[in-house]
């Protein structure tokens, strides 16, 4: 249904002003960034091996982390929202911790646990030969660690909000809990699930501290864009700005590419 112009109420002044301030808070720094970007020699800065490698690794690892966060995080959110079990509050509080920990500390914690000398990492290495640090898998683990909580909390909030009567109806038609979850519960919270996935993806794309601490920083293997940016900030600021621009452009492209329908499916 297309709406006739003039049939929507004016935006309330207060909301309009606050929303504009919010937009300004985000937009002004971005403009500040764009102003400083070395537009003239952008081309050469961006086609270097370093940037292309980092872009590739960033896309792979952030998408993998978002996917992993979704696959693991949605069931966890469901559990938190739908089942009462002992220790539920502790689990919920624990899940938010990776958001609170400074990423560098998070990376250190990952090393303590999954590093070559880590509590779990050492037996893992001994038994399977898998070493997470200094590998792409490690980058993905670090990204998932920091990104998943965003997905879990978003989805849990939506599940708490959603109508359980419909789930009861589905069960009464003979659907197993898994089927109810997959066919009824998830589609009903689709917009929030999408928001959670975007949050997780974006957080993973921008992730720096945990990654560099846990997975190290090697061009072509573990150096994602934020790492490349950080390293160049030290010595070649223009390159750093140019790479930041790449990140801005990539996420803009992805988010604009997700058609409006993807967000507003009703």
């Amino acid at each position: 249904m297309t709406t006739r112009r003039g049939t929507e109420e004016r935006i309330p002044l207060l909301l309009g002003v606050l929303a504009s301030l919010a937009i300004a808070l985000v937009a002004i720094p971005l403009v500040g960034l764009l102003v400083r970007v070395p537009w003239s020699n952008l081309g050469s800065l961006l086609t270097s091996d370093v940037v292309l490698d980092a872009l590739r690794l960033s896309l792979i690892s952030s998408i993998a982390a978002a996917a992993l966060s979704t696959v693991l995080g949605v069931p966890l959110a469901w559990l938190l929202a739908r089942r009462r079990f002992r220790g539920r509050r502790v689990v919920r509080a624990a899940v938010t911790l990776p958001m609170v920990l400074p990423p560098v500390v998070g990376g250190a914690a990952l090393l303590f646990a999954l590093g070559r000398r880590g509590v779990v990492g050492e037996p893992l290495d001994a038994i399977t030969g898998i070493v997470l640090p200094f590998s792409l898998a490690g980058v993905i683990v670090a990204n998932t660690f920091v990104a998943m909580p965003f997905l879990v909390l978003t989805v849990e909030g939506a599940l708490t909000n959603s109508d359980r009567g419909v789930e009861a109806a589905a069960a009464s038609l003979g659907a197993s809990p898994l089927r109810v979850f997959w066919k009824v519960t998830l589609p009903a919270i689709a917009p929030s699930l999408r928001a959670g996935m975007v949050l997780a993806w974006a957080r993973a794309l921008g992730e720096f501290g945990a990654t560099v601490t846990f997975a190290g920083n090697l061009q072509g293997r573990t150096q994602t864009l934020p790492l490349a940016v950080f390293v160049s900030l030290e010595n070649d600021r223009n390159a750093a700005l140019a790479m930041s621009l790449v990140m801005v452009a990539v996420s803009f492209a992805v988010l604009l590419g997700l058609r409006d329908r993807w967000w507003n499916n009703r």
Partner: protein
């Protein structure tokens, strides 16, 4: 907290100076009643960026010449920078030395997890100069953003070998074994008072104090070489 800004001397110092400057600052406060020295540490170039962007720092101590040059160029220094210490690199392996490291050439071994400072940060540039001089092509697994991050990965045994500052190796003497590189190359540390100092005299006094006998003694105690 800060009582009154005029008595507070904000010093921006390269990360590797943390321990040394904490001691020097305390000694300076003792000598200058009412002075409150606040040390802010970070990567030299991050500090440089903040100074150029107007951070209220009174003194800047950098771990290489180029960052200091940039600050001078920006017109933010109040006096000519001085070299007040030097640092060199050492080959470092975790205590126990499970990788059997014995010197610079082990950095070329692909069976070991090898770490360096990233190119562009002072210790990374120096590392590459040293390796080039010795004709060793390292088999690098990670370019760490600074020497401390690199050191802690070695201490934890996540890396088998790496090149860090001698001062860093000294600070972790119980947790690592260190070997000389066999290449005589050092990096200079420079210090200068800054234009934006709230109390320029105090800033100049602090610079003098660092380059004076007390400062020199503390620095050599922490493993720095004389300028």
């Amino acid at each position: 907290g800060t009582d009154s800004d005029s008595d507070t001397l904000i010093v921006f110092a390269a990360s590797s100076l943390v321990d040394a400057f904490a001691e020097i600052g305390a000694a300076f406060e003792e000598q200058n009643a009412g002075a409150d020295v606040m040390i802010t540490t970070g990567g030299s170039s991050a500090l440089r960026a903040q100074i150029i962007d107007g951070a209220p720092a009174a003194v800047f101590a950098s771990a290489n010449a180029s960052t200091m040059d940039a600050v001078v160029e920006a017109g933010d220094t109040a006096a000519q920078p001085e070299v007040f210490a030097r640092n060199r690199l050492e080959v470092v392996a975790p205590a126990g030395n499970a990788g059997g490291v014995s010197g610079l050439s082990d950095l070329a071994r692909s069976d070991l997890f090898v770490g360096l400072c990233a190119a562009g940060v002072p210790c990374g540039d120096l590392s590459r100069d040293v390796l080039g001089e010795a004709g060793v092509t390292p088999s690098v697994d990670t370019d760490e953003p600074d020497a401390r991050a690199l050191l802690s990965k070695i201490v934890d045994g996540e890396l088998d070998v790496g090149l860090v500052y001698a001062t860093d190796a000294a600070s972790a003497v119980d947790d690592v074994v260190a070997f000389a590189t066999g290449v005589d190359m050092t990096t200079p540390y420079l210090i200068a008072p800054l234009d934006g100092a709230a109390d320029p005299e105090l800033a100049a006094a602090f610079v003098d104090f660092v380059t004076g006998p007390v400062g020199r003694a503390v620095l050599s105690d922490k493993g720095f070489a004389a300028p």
